[in-house]
Structures are given as C-alpha cells and as structure tokens.
Symmetry: D2
Amino acid sequence: MEDYRTKCIELLESRGVTVNDIADCARFLQADYHVDLKKEELLESVMSVLSKREVQNAIMTGIELDVAAEQGYMKDKDLAKILTRDEGLYGVDEVLAYGICNLYGSIALTNFGFIDKKKYGIIAKLNEDGKDTGTVNTFIDDIVGAIAASAASRFAHRWVK
Amino acid sequence: MEDYRTKCIELLESRGVTVNDIADCARFLQADYHVDLKKEELLESVMSVLSKREVQNAIMTGIELDVAAEQGYMKDKDLAKILTRDEGLYGVDEVLAYGICNLYGSIALTNFGFIDKKKYGIIAKLNEDGKDTGTVNTFIDDIVGAIAASAASRFAHRWVK
Amino acid sequence: MEDYRTKCIELLESRGVTVNDIADCARFLQADYHVDLKKEELLESVMSVLSKREVQNAIMTGIELDVAAEQGYMKDKDLAKILTRDEGLYGVDEVLAYGICNLYGSIALTNFGFIDKKKYGIIAKLNEDGKDTGTVNTFIDDIVGAIAASAASRFAHRWVK
Amino acid sequence: MEDYRTKCIELLESRGVTVNDIADCARFLQADYHVDLKKEELLESVMSVLSKREVQNAIMTGIELDVAAEQGYMKDKDLAKILTRDEGLYGVDEVLAYGICNLYGSIALTNFGFIDKKKYGIIAKLNEDGKDTGTVNTFIDDIVGAIAASAASRFAHRWVK
C-alpha cells in the first residue's frame, strides 16, 4: 500500500516527526551491537516497516485520537481528559504499539519497552511537548517508539542471515 | 474504578448492547463444557471484567472511534471510510480486543477467535447493523466479543479451582 | 534459515504431519472467501511461514516438550503429567502458537482461535491421537493450527494487494 | 493453586533465585515513582503473581528446558545448542515471558522490555552465569524479569486505586 505510506509519512510530519528522527531512534537501539552503524543504514528498515498495512492503520488511528483530544472535537470528554493528561494507567497507546511490534517478533517488543522507558531523541521531545496543555502526544510517542523498535529488530534479523 | 464501569455500561447501552447480551455470548462459549449453565451465572464474570481499567479504556476508545466515523466528525477521512466499510484488513479493532483478552490468558484469546468468526447473538446483530451505511460498529463488535471471551475464560479458571 | 526449515519439516513428519496437511487446514480457513481455492495455492504460504526463524524455534521447542513427556525422559514429573493429560488450563502451548500468529497480524490470531476450537483435518486427528496414553500431542496441534492460521492470513493479505 | 506455587518457589531456588531477588527487581522498576519503596512492600505482589496458574506453567516449562539443555538429556541437539549459547535470535524465552506480562497489562510489558535490556540484580547474575559452558539460564532470566515486571505493574495499579 504505497499510497497510504506516503500519507502516513505526511501525517507523522504534521505532528513533528520525520522518518530520519525514527531512523535515529532505531540506530540508538542497535548501537550496542554495531558501533559504527549510520542512521542511513536503518532508514531502509524504517521505510519497510511503514509499508505494512497494520502499521499504517495504527498510525492513522493513533494520530486521529491525539488530534481529536487536542483540537477538542472528541465527543467523549472523559477520554479527552485522560489523553490530554497522558494518564499512566491508560494503556491503549501501548496496546497499539504492541500491535506493530508483534509483527517483528519478540526482539521488537523488548526494544520498545526499553526505548519507551529510556526516552531518546524525538521520543523525549514528543513526551516533553505533550506535557504542554495545548499538545496531545499520547499515541504518537508510542507509535514512533514501536516503528523504531520494529525497524531495529528487522535490521538485527537481516544482519545475521 | 467503579464510576468508569457505570459509564462504560451506559456507553455500551447507547450502542445497543446490554450486559445481559454479553453474558449470553459468554454462556455460548462455555456451553460445550457446562450444558446447564445459565446466563446469570456468567453475569458476575462479565461485571468483573468490566471493572478492569484496561477494559474500560478499550471500551471508551473503541466507541469514540465508531461514533466519530458514524457521525462524520472524524478528521481523517481515509480512516473514516475504512471504519465505515469495516474493511477486512483493518485490524486495530482486533488489536484492542486482544488487549482485553490478554489479561485473561490464552483461553480468552482462543475464545475470542472462535466467537469473532462464528458470530453469535448480539455480535451477529452488531455486525449486520454495521453493514448499513448509517451505522459504524467496527470496534464495538470486537470489544463485546473480547469481554464475553474474557468472562468465559475467567469462569472456566474459577470452575477448576 | 533454509536448513532449519528442512529440519522442521522432517520433525513435523516424524509426528505425523505433512506440509500438505497444513495447507489443507489453511485452505479450510480461507474457504468462505475463495470457494475454488486449491490446497496447492496455499502451500507456498505454508512454506514461507516455515522459513521464519521464530516459527522454526517454536516447532523445535514444542515438539521437544511433547516428545520428552511422551518418552518419559522429562525431569519435571508434574509437568510431564500435565502435558500427557493435555490439561485445559495449561496454556503454554497456545502462548507458543500466538508467538507465531502475532508475526502475521490480527487476522492470523482470529484464524487460530477458530481452528483451535473447531478442530479440522490433521488437527482433529492429532487431538484424537493425543488422548491415547502413549501419545503426547499437546504442543504440536496448536503449532500446526498457528502455521495454518498464519499461512491463511498471509494469503489473504496478498490477495488484496 | 497454592501447592504449585510452593513447588515453583522451590524450582526457582534450585536455579539460584529467591522471591526476595525478584521483589528487589520489582522495586528497581518502581524506584522512579516511589523513592522510599522497600523491597518488602513488593513481596506481596510477587507472591500474588506466583499464584497464577499461567505463571506457574511458564516457570515449570522454562526451567525444564534450561535443565534439559544443561544436563544433556534434551533429544533435539540443535535446540540444546541454541539454548546453551542463548542465541540472540531465539525468542521463545521472551514469548513465554510475554505470556506472563500480558496478564498484567501493557505497563508490565514495558517494564519487562526495560529490565531485560538493562539487566539488574539477579537478572544480571543469571545472565552472567549463563555464559559459562556448564550453565543454561536462557529461560529463567526472562521468566524472572517477567514476574518482576508483572509485580511492579500490579503494584502501580493498586497504588492508584
């Protein structure tokens, strides 16, 4: 689904995230294993992850929810409040993220858990910006983490073959 | 979170689903094992599943998405079209459902797969109504299936103890 | 990992399962959508699923556990008893199966739940044979179901593109 | 299943792991949120996690596999070699771990990914010892991580209520 991929890259950019930012997170996750790895070498994996239909669906759904809470047109006001505060016990954002990582096996899930706690690069920025009252980044930071984790896992599997 | 439970039961009712409908689906899933089981005996399990915060979050999020597509205020028009058609390759609805079932172990997941394909009771009705252009039931049928599958699994575990 | 694939096909055959049996289960899962589909058309998807490293690992691990319980060299006698009886509340076999299905998205998981409850073809036979005291098929029936469910899901995704 | 819990605690001890070691890992995972938290306060959560039948099954199955590879009675010699080396692309150990974490929601999964990469306390020790040719700790380090991650998640959910 090439056309949805282009759409999703634009959606991510509209929320301040470039494919280069995601490749940088993926490189961070592989840094222990390949010191000299360049961000460019992970960009191909990021682009491949973005081609999967399930990934595109997660991106569209997650960003719609962030935007609906942020712009105030979400009908369920309790849910809007939960998303605006990025409440710790709201875990649907992580559930969507696992839906991506699962496609890339158990290493991707472990990678996600690590970068989600560690916060790195664009993920740290999204998280920080999400604390402002005007911005809701509840879903996007997890989705970006999941794409990076999946791209790093895909790279690791290919390296071995 | 008792208060969110009441809210979620009302939300489900606003979409045409009662806790009795869900208990009936759970009974169907247990019927092979306990012929004489009554719906009432499964109602307590349904109510317990509905008390979990993760389940409440999934209900609120899924129904918000169905309603946003149905009432036309969803910003992402591609996503609205996908949800309105309940496209076969859109799987975020099942991802949310698994987020519920996972809490109840592997039997709940198997139960869900069965009732999702078999369609029974209120799930068949939601699915049929969702084919009308005016109604979007993409998330709710899977969420109802997941709650029923989880309640049946919880019941089975307790029976053994 | 071509060489592990050959090994895994031989392992499956040593337990009475051929790739044709698995393709037949995958066809059963797609029959509602494509009436005229032939088993042969799904064989390519089965072979592709069997090439994945995670799938090979699950096959080797599951069959080792079945054989260890069956041949009596399993050290943990409680576990051997649980596997020999194929106890309903032992769910590690399904957990391994989900580890396979997850790689193929949410449709694969739903397919698995359905065929696991419905039992069809070789899965029904494995299940029946496993009731004999001399045979332990606790893991293999779920693994075969997961491979078939994944192959059917892979086929469905490709059909659409 | 109180009796299997006692058995599982003994199994863990036979591999060098105490419930106190696990509580210490759970405390580490909660340290950012509750500075003064004592290990003892998490012990109750660890004991509750160990009461779940699915957790007991994962412990028994994982330790059986480690021991079978370590003591040389595993029939599949390829699998024994993979487990002895703790090969990076073997992920069935993580799959079993997720089977535990899933029962405790998405926070448990994130916790697991973090402690699995970070290695802390007994997990670091198990990992280090597993590098010796004589010791196989492929499954147990992930299972211990999963129990700690689940106990920390359970504690976090209760704290809020």
